[in-house]
């Protein structure tokens, strides 16, 4: 059953990303997600980016559903179900958060709840998400094109930072290839890691098998996975499943 919530505010974060604020009395954990239905358009999974009394979805425009969502304004409605899945596990270890593109939206409520340094990565400076959100801590910026901060990929900056600081855990969310690289770094350096994965998702409740990766269901076993699970995901960063369930190269 869906709950109908009203959009109370829309904030344009980047040229392709907007945050939609609403009230809902569910109590999500950082890393959990909801299914958003826009009647007659589409239904899609969306992680929560603000988890207080006023909640938020921070949505990148990627397809028909999210494009329609970007047209919505204050006073418009969203049909939601959730929260679903397993979120991040808060750790006492010295943490580095690494968000790529809109992946930063998933990490943000976790960062609000625990200390640690932050890497915000994007293709270009205009797409750096939440660069002003995390006051009073070290925030490193990285852009693929070098238009701001470190010039290069997020994992290259992470390798550099690991020479400077003794981080004990990396929390990451972003493009799968970026996460694969960061997980490999964590494994080789003996650092703990948690990653929030994204796969083509249909039911969101653990029965249709669309989002499964090597026997793990992203929708209920994840979307956040821990190191002992991530090391077993041989398809991560290599193969995905398409809408028909075919295993195809990423």
């Amino acid at each position: 059953m869906y709950r109908v919530v009203e959009i109370e505010e829309v904030v344009t974060e980047t040229p392709t990303i907007k945050t939609f604020f609403f009230r809902d009395n569910s109590e999500p954990q950082p890393g959990q997600f909801y299914m958003i239905w826009l009647p007659g358009v589409d239904e899609f999974p969306m992680s929560i980016s603000y988890i207080g009394e006023i909640k938020g979805f921070t949505v990148k425009r990627v397809g028909a559903g999210t494009a329609r969502m970007h047209q919505l304004q204050k006073g418009d409605k969203l049909w939601i179900r959730g929260p679903y899945g397993r979120g991040f596990r808060i750790s006492q270890k010295k943490a580095l958060f690494v968000g790529g593109g809109s992946g930063m939206a998933t990490l943000a409520p976790l960062i609000d709840m625990m200390p640690g340094d932050v890497v915000i990565a994007a293709r270009t400076r205009d797409e750096l998400l939440f660069r002003k959100r995390f006051a009073g801590r070290k925030v490193y910026l990285a852009t693929d094109d070098g238009s701001e901060g470190f010039k290069g990929f997020a994992h290259e900056l992470v390798e550099k930072l690991l020479h400077q600081e003794d981080y004990e855990i990396i929390y990451t969310c972003g493009p799968e290839l970026m996460m694969r690289k960061i997980i490999d770094i964590a494994i080789s350096k003996g650092i703990d890691v948690q990653a929030s994965l994204e796969r083509l998702m249909k039911c969101g409740i653990g029965i249709c098998d669309s989002c499964s990766i090597n026997g793990y269901r992203v929708c209920v076993d994840g979307p956040v996975f821990f190191k002992d699970e991530l090391v077993k995901m041989k398809d991560l960063g290599k193969y995905k499943r398409d809408k028909a369930g075919r295993r195809v190269p990423l």
């Binding site: 653990g206 098998d209 269901r217 809408k243 075919r246 295993r247």
Partner: protein, 299 residues
Amino acid sequence: MLSFTLNGLRFKNPLILASGILDESGETMLKVIEHGAGGVVTKSIGRKPREGYENPVIYELPYGLLNAIGLANPGIENYGEEIKVAKKGGVPVIGSVFGSTVEGFVYLAKKMEEYGADAVELNLSCPHAKGYGMEVGTDIALVEEIVEGVKKEISIPVWAKITPNTENLVKIAKAVEGADALVLINTVKAMAIDIEAGMPVLSNKFGGLSGPCIKPIGVRAVYEVYREVEKPIIGVGGITYGRDAIEYLMAGATALQVGTAVYLRGIEVFSLIAKEMEEWMEKHGYAHFTELIGLAQVR
């Protein structure tokens, strides 16, 4: 207490994963087997890759699930590897197939046999795919030809999964009696409308209802058919707890399938139900579950 042989296949318990739930990839089926399933039926596979319907494809209700996935599947030519992986679990793997013609079903069933499936389940009952499933499965002459056609061409057992969405349940059951076992029921054709949106929730509008709310329909179907056909019946529809399994056995089921309960109780539901069945049987003085089959039939 729970192990048995059906159609020459050895099962450690009668709780088989129903088609359509966590059974598209071999690795996921292995997970289900690890959690105690006595066997697994694959997602229904057709000739060509099929993406299925757009979201929403599922709707959660207080009493079950409504779905119209739309027979999404990778296509039979891409499915050999998944069967091979699932077979590593050491329990029977039953390949579910859907088609619209005798030739179509025969082609798919032969492929499943070639891939190493232990049996084939003919989907004659999906309620939400145009030209397939129930639309085929309510044509009494056609289902008989499909079952006979497939039986002639393969040597592994053939199961026929039939629909409850008909007034001709017993006639259809008799028409498919050439199969080695009958599976009933598939989901019940249904719809849900979101009154705030003023439209059906599922993108396909119609879907199949499953879960606890359809158990009485399944029990009734098994009970009715048991009296009329000689072949073993595999009962499915709303089995969530051990007591539901016992109820289906008493109606006349020889084996059982579990689907929506995976959503309700988690993937470990197979071992949970098995334990509950054993506890109930011990308490009531039954040594083996087969003693319960058809017990509630009034003769």
